[in-house]
Symmetry: C2
Subunit: 387 residues, 2 copies
C-alpha cells in the first residue's frame, strides 16, 4: 500500500454566515486547500463531498458535481452522508482509494449551511439524523438524546454538571487563538452552570452552536508527493468506521458508544498504533458529554473516567493528551458536513507546527473522531508525521 | 487484485407503494439478496446505501445505519448520493474496497420512496438534482431538461419522435415477463405518439414513471466465494465514474454526455474490454432520449446513430446488443436510489440464466450505465461471467 499524504488543507471561518451558499463556502475552503497544497486542480482525479442537510437548507441535492465545479475541478464527484460524520466518511473512502493505488490526487471535504434556517429550523433539520418514525415523531431532538446519555453516564459512573462544564471551558480556552473558530472567548465555571438549560442536565454552554462553514483537503499518494516535491509531512495512516443501531432505545447502554469503540479499534490496528501512542485528538463534542464518551472510546481515558479528564487537566492544552485543541465543535463551531474534514485540517496544521496550539502536542501521532447521530455512525482517522 | 463476485441479488417489485417506508422496502430487498447469496448476515463487514430524496420524502437522513438495521446487519454504514446514480456510486466504492482486499463481504444497494409525495411533489423533489440557483428557480424540471437535450439531438444528428417511440416500445416489450417491473404491458407506436405531451418533444410514454422500490446486492471477494463454496459466477470486473458541470447551460453540447463517455472509458479499461465485447446493457433511460445518449457513450452505437438503434432492432431482445432487457427505467420503473443497484441485479440474473430474458444475450460481458441529473454524474460497471 502507498502512503496517503495530506498535501493541503483549507477552512473557512466557522460561524454565522446565513447569506453564503454551500458552494460559496466550499469554493473558499477548496481554494485555500489548493493554495496550501501547491497541487494544480487539473491533477484531481475525484471529489468526495460530505453534506448532511442540503436538501432542507438549500433545496439542493446532487451536490457532488456542484461542489467540484465550485472548487474549479472537473472530475467524478460523489456526496457522502453519515449525519454529522459525513465528511469523515468521505475521507475514509478517499484514503482507501489512494492507498490502494486507485487514485493519486483527490479533493475531499464538506460544507454545511445552517444558520439560514434559524435555530428552530436547524434543530428540526438536525433531527433527521435520528429515527424519524420512532424518535423524532415522539419529540426527540439531539439535545434531549444527549441529555439522556449524560444522565445514564452520571448514574452509572458518577460525575455531574461541573465536570462537563470543564469540557466546555477547556474547549473555549483552546479556541482563543484559533481565528477560524466561531467563539474566541473564554468562559467561566459560573457561565456554564448558570446558563439557561437546554435539556437537563445540559445547558447552553454544554452545546455546540449552529454554524455555517466548509473544510477541504487535498490528499495525494506518497509517490505523487515525492514526484512533485511536495511538502506534505503528514499522512493518514489509519481509518476505521463503526455502526450501531439507529435509535437510542435500541442501545444496550446509553453511556457507551460501541460504534466509536469499533472505529477506534479498526483505525488503530490499521495504523499499527495503540491508544498510548496518541498525543492529541480532535473529537466530536457536539455536547460536552459527547467528548467524554469519545475519549473513552479512543482509549484516552478508561471507561467511567473520561468525565474527570478535563477537570483534572489531562486533556487541556498543557495536559498529557490535549483534546480539541481547535476548540472542538463546542467553540470552533459545527457546520455538520464540514466537521470531519475540519478535524483533519486542524490536526494537520497542528502536526506541521503552523497552528497556534501546535506547541501543546508532544508527539507525532494524533487522531480524529467524528460521530453521526447518537453515535450510530462513527469514523476515526489516525494521522502521523512521516519522516 | 481480487475478484469482486456478485453473491446474491434482491429486488422488490417496483411500482406504486406509497404506504411502504424506505426501510420496509430495503429490508425486503436485502432479505432476498441474503437468501440468494447464502451468506450469513454476520459476515457482512460494511453497508453502502444509495438514496436521493429521503430528507424530502420521509424526513429522514442518516439512512446508512437505519438500512443496515433494516437488513439485519450491524456494521459500518454510509449513505451515498449522486442523484439518480446514487446506488451505482455506492457499488463503485464497494468494488474498490473488495478488490483491494479491504473487505470480503459487503451489502450494497439502495431504495427510494417517491409516490407518497404525489406526482407534483416527486417532480419537485427530483428537481433538486439540478442546480437550485440557476435551473430550478428558473422553472426547469427534468422533463424540460431532457426535452432540450432531445431537441439538440434532433437538430444536430437528425431523428425524431418516432425514433424515440421505438425506445419506449422496446423497453415495454422487454418488461412483459419481468415480474418486478412496474409496467408489464406492451405499447404501440400510436400510444406513444398520441400520448399527452410532457415537455415537447417528449410525451408521457417517453418518460419513466415515479416509483417506489429497493435493490440489494451481496458482493464478496473471490477468495470468500471459493472458501465458502458459493455459486457466484458473475463478477464486477470494471468500474468507472465521470463528472460534468452541473447545469445544462454550462455544457458544450446538449446532446453529448462527456461524464458518461469518461465513465465508460474508465470501466472498459478497468475490465480490459472494448465496446465490441458488450453483449447487453442496462442503461439509464429516465427519458427515451437518455437511452440514445447512453448507448452512444457506451460505444454500442456511433455518435449520432443511437437514435435509430431501437427502431432498426439493433437493441431489441432479438438484436445484436439488447439494451434494457429488464424493461429499463421506462417500464421497470425508477425508484431513484435503487436504480443503479437494480441494473446490476438484473444483469446478474440475466448472465446466470435465471432471468426471463436471459436467452436474448449472446455473450458473457455486459454493462450497467447509471446517470445522475442531466448526466453531471455517471457510473458504469462491467459484469462478466467468471469461469
Amino acid at each position: 500500500m502507498t502512503e496517503v499524504r495530506v498535501a493541503g488543507v483549507g477552512l473557512t471561518p466557522f460561524g454565522n454566515e446565513p447569506e453564503r451558499t454551500g458552494r460559496d463556502l466550499f469554493a473558499a475552503a477548496a481554494a485555500d486547500a489548493f493554495a496550501d497544497a501547491d497541487v494544480p486542480r487539473g491533477d484531481v482525479e475525484d471529489v468526495r463531498y460530505g453534506n448532511f442537510m442540503g436538501e432542507l437548507a438549500e433545496h439542493q441535492g446532487h451536490q457532488g458535481p456542484l461542489m467540484a465545479e465550485a472548487a474549479g475541478v472537473t472530475a467524478p464527484a460523489t456526496r457522502y452522508e453519515a449525519a454529522c460524520a459525513s465528511s469523515a466518511a468521505a475521507v475514509r473512502d478517499t484514503v482507501v482509494a489512494i492507498r490502494n493505488g486507485e487514485r493519486d490526487v483527490c479533493l475531499v471535504g464538506g460544507a454545511e449551511r445552517m444558520t439560514n434556517l434559524g435555530t428552530a429550523g436547524a434543530t428540526e433539520a438536525l433531527a433527521i439524523a435520528a429515527d424519524d418514525l420512532w424518535e423524532v415523531r415522539a419529540g426527540m431532538t439531539f439535545p434531549g438524546a444527549y441529555a439522556l446519555m449524560a444522565k445514564a453516564y452520571f448514574e452509572t459512573y458518577g460525575g455531574g454538571r461541573e465536570d462537563l462544564a470543564h469540557v466546555a471551558m477547556k474547549n473555549h480556552d483552546h479556541a482563543l487563538e484559533n481565528e477560524k473558530a466561531q467563539y474566541q472567548r473564554a468562559i467561566e465555571l459560573e457561565d456554564v452552570l448558570d446558563a439557561p438549560p437546554v435539556s437537563e442536565p445540559l445547558g447552553l454552554y454544554d452545546s455546540c452552536p449552529i454554524s455555517d462553514g466548509a473544510a477541504a483537503l487535498v490528499l495525494v499518494s506518497g509517490e505523487y508527493a515525492e514526484a512533485n516535491d511536495l511538502e506534505a509531512p503528514v499522512a493518514i495512516t489509519g481509518t476505521g468506521q463503526g455502526g450501531d443501531r439507529m435509535a437510542l432505545h435500541d442501545r444496550e447502554h446509553l453511556a457507551r458508544s460501541p460504534a466509536a469503540d469499533e472505529a477506534a479499534r479498526e483505525a488503530y490496528d490499521d495504523a499499527g498504533i495503540a491508544a498510548e501512542d496518541v498525543a492529541a485528538a480532535e473529537v466530536h463534542d457536539c455536547f460536552t458529554i459527547a467528548e467524554v464518551l469519545a475519549i473513552e472510546s479512543l482509549g484516552i481515558a478508561e471507561v467511567g473516567e473520561g468525565i474527570s479528564a478535563a477537570r483534572e487537566g489531562y486533556t487541556t492544552a498543557d495536559g498529557s493528551v490535549p483534546v480539541n485543541l481547535s476548540g472542538g465543535l463546542k467553540a470552533k463551531g459545527h457546520p455538520v458536513g464540514a466537521t470531519g474534514a475540519s478535524q483533519i485540517a486542524e490536526l494537520t496544521a497542528i502536526l506541521r507546527g503552523d497552528h497556534p496550539n501546535s506547541g501543546a502536542v508532544d508527539g507525532s501521532t494524533v487522531v480524529a473522531h467524528n460521530a453521526g447521530g447518537t453515535v450510530a455512525s462513527c469514523v476515526v482517522h489516525v494521522l502521523e508525521v512521516i519522516e
